[in-house]
């Protein structure tokens, strides 16, 4: 190269980055529209409902990535070969056209992009948004576990039956069938509260991240266990109420709680309980922290 000859300038990096974002948006826009329609209008199926928490999880993940974009820029460029592999696999999944694989291509391609540009440090920076995407992507897990939760259905029917007996109702429990005044309710696999369990854990994860609590291992474990407990108890109470409504002929209340707005309010109330648990429970930190920058951080008494 002779002196004086200009070196070809790379295209403006910002333009290229936005181009990539636009292409990904073009690829997944029809899928997102389909999913959101399915979640809002319940048009796809009951197993799709299990992932409706993605409605808040995906925007939050996008927000996190956006907030960390300067840290991303500062990372050294590192084209990890695993990134190329994941991109190839994700592309193959996308081209199959089956709902399961196309859905799964999303977290695979996003992870591949992180590795392809910034290597393992890139993955470490964005592990949480990627996890949110992975746990919010519709997949067949709810279907695959249905044959294995009979014990949970029986447990819920038994406890709900016991509670109703304490309140003086004429109750009989037979396996997963709970009868009040001779009118039976079946605690089906999809009534066993697995959906609310998934959603509770997901929301708890988001809450812990948002408040910076994930580093606190004890509190994190406590909250996850607490979310499981609250979700199971809330589901038992819900099945108790449903049996009572059905047994006493209050069919509108039954429908409202089962598949209507009553049920939605009930779920929101349950999630509020988790937030309450978070704020009322101890912080589980016994000693002062030294945070990442090496500064002494005073122990918080209140969260």
């Amino acid at each position: 190269m002779r002196l004086g000859q200009t070196i070809p300038q790379p295209l403006n990096k910002t333009v290229i980055n936005w181009l990539i974002v636009a292409l990904i948006a073009l690829l997944y826009a029809p899928i997102f529209v389909h999913w959101v329609d399915g979640w809002l209008n319940k048009t796809i199926g009951i197993e799709h409902e299990y992932f409706s928490h993605a409605l808040i999880g995906f925007p939050y993940a996008a927000y996190l990535v956006w907030m960390q974009r300067h840290k991303w820029e500062k990372l050294k460029s590192d084209n990890h070969p695993l990134g190329a592999v994941l991109l190839g696999i994700g592309a193959a999944f996308y081209l199959t056209g089956t709902a399961t694989l196309v859905a799964f291509s999303l977290p695979v391609i996003l992870t591949g992009i992180c590795l392809w540009f910034k290597g393992i440090p890139g993955l470490k920076l964005h592990w949480f948004p990627l996890l949110l995407v992975l746990l919010g992507t519709p997949n067949p897990v709810p279907y695959l576990i249905t044959p294995y939760i009979l014990w949970l259905q029986k447990f819920i029917a038994a406890v709900a039956g016991f509670l109703l007996m304490q309140f003086g109702y004429q109750v009989s429990v037979d396996g997963i069938y709970l009868s009040v005044n001779e009118r039976a309710v079946e605690v089906a696999p999809y009534c066993a509260g697995i959906k609310m369990l998934f959603t509770s854990l997901y929301v708890t994860l988001m809450l812990l991240h948002w408040t910076g609590t994930l580093k606190n291992y004890k509190k994190t474990m406590f909250m996850m266990a607490g979310a499981v407990g609250i979700s199971v108890i809330a589901n038992i109470i819900r099945n108790t109420l449903l049996s009572m409504f059905h047994g006493t002929g209050q069919d509108e209340m039954f429908v409202s709680l089962h598949e209507g707005t009553g049920g939605d309010f009930y779920s929101i109330a349950m999630l509020m309980m988790i937030v309450l648990l978070f704020h009322l429970s101890p912080t589980f930190e016994s000693s002062p922290l030294i945070n990442e920058e090496g500064d002494y951080q005073k122990n918080d008494e209140y969260f």
Partner: protein, 256 residues
């Protein structure tokens, strides 16, 4: 001079990574998405339909001929909001055997809790669980086989369980050897996820894997050894699978 050279290389490698990704995304868009934007439809929007599902629906109300067996009775029954075919048949006037079948009658329907539904209906007390393997009489490929669940069950005969008010009455209980599996063209398994992965695989070719839940209930003496029954049960199960393949699955795939 060297600094400029190094700078241009590093800028090139940054561009190379971006270039590769953009190229990949373009290819994906052109092959995977653009056709969809034009037609307004995408492959993943809905499950492919089952061609000739009418054969499966018809199975609920018609007899399934089993060579060497006389069908005494066949009717459609309702178990847990699902329609099953209940067929009672016997061989040379021996004790009648019950054949319960639930075909996939809707393209979105998947094997799920059929075994639980049967078990709860009759309050089955089961024991001696085993897995048996067999293939139909004319396997298409060497690997075609059925993985069925074989066990002993103390329960009332199915027609008694279907009558309201007889649940839990142990005096109605008889002993049966039960064979259960989800049958599909070329094979079967009693585990729903086995069907699921094969169906996913078929979907790669825009195809589906139709299925029929089969429960075979053979009366046995309460004192008999289940192992003695295994050969006989397997033989009958093999006949049922073959009949399903010849009379239901084969016509479904040939009439395209």
């Amino acid at each position: 001079m060297m600094n400029i050279f190094k700078a241009s290389i590093s800028k090139k490698s940054v561009n190379f990574a971006h270039f590769c990704l953009i190229l990949l995304l373009f290819i994906l868009i052109i092959i995977g998405v653009v056709p969809g934007y034009f037609s307004g439809e995408w492959a993943w929007q809905d499950l492919p339909r089952i061609s000739n599902i009418s054969y499966l629906i018809k199975l609920k109300k018609t007899e399934l001929a089993i060579p060497g067996w006389t069908i005494l009775q066949q009717q459609e029954v309702i178990i847990s909001n699902n329609q099953w075919s209940l067929q009672i048949m016997s061989q040379d006037s021996s004790t009648p055997v019950t054949l319960l079948m639930m075909p996939q009658d809707f393209y979105k329907k998947k094997p799920e809790v059929e075994w639980t539904n049967l078990q709860l209906l009759g309050n089955w007390q089961t024991s001696e669980h085993k897995t048996i393997k067999f293939a139909s009489e004319n396997p298409q490929e060497k690997s075609d086989h059925v993985k069925a669940h074989f066990f002993r069950s103390s329960m009332p005969p199915i027609w008694q369980s279907l009558r309201v008010g007889t649940r839990g009455r142990q005096e109605n209980n008889q002993t049966f050897a039960v064979v259960q599996w989800y049958a599909w063209p070329g094979g079967g398994s009693f585990v729903p996820s086995d069907w699921f992965w094969r169906d996913q695989f078929a979907q790669l070719n825009q195809d589906r894997l139709p299925w029929v839940a089969v429960s075979l209930q053979i009366p046995i003496s309460p004192l008999s050894d289940l192992k003695e029954m295994e050969e006989e049960a397997t033989k009958l199960a093999k006949l049922v699978q073959t009949s399903l393949e010849e009379q239901v699955f084969a016509p479904m795939s040939s009439n395209n």
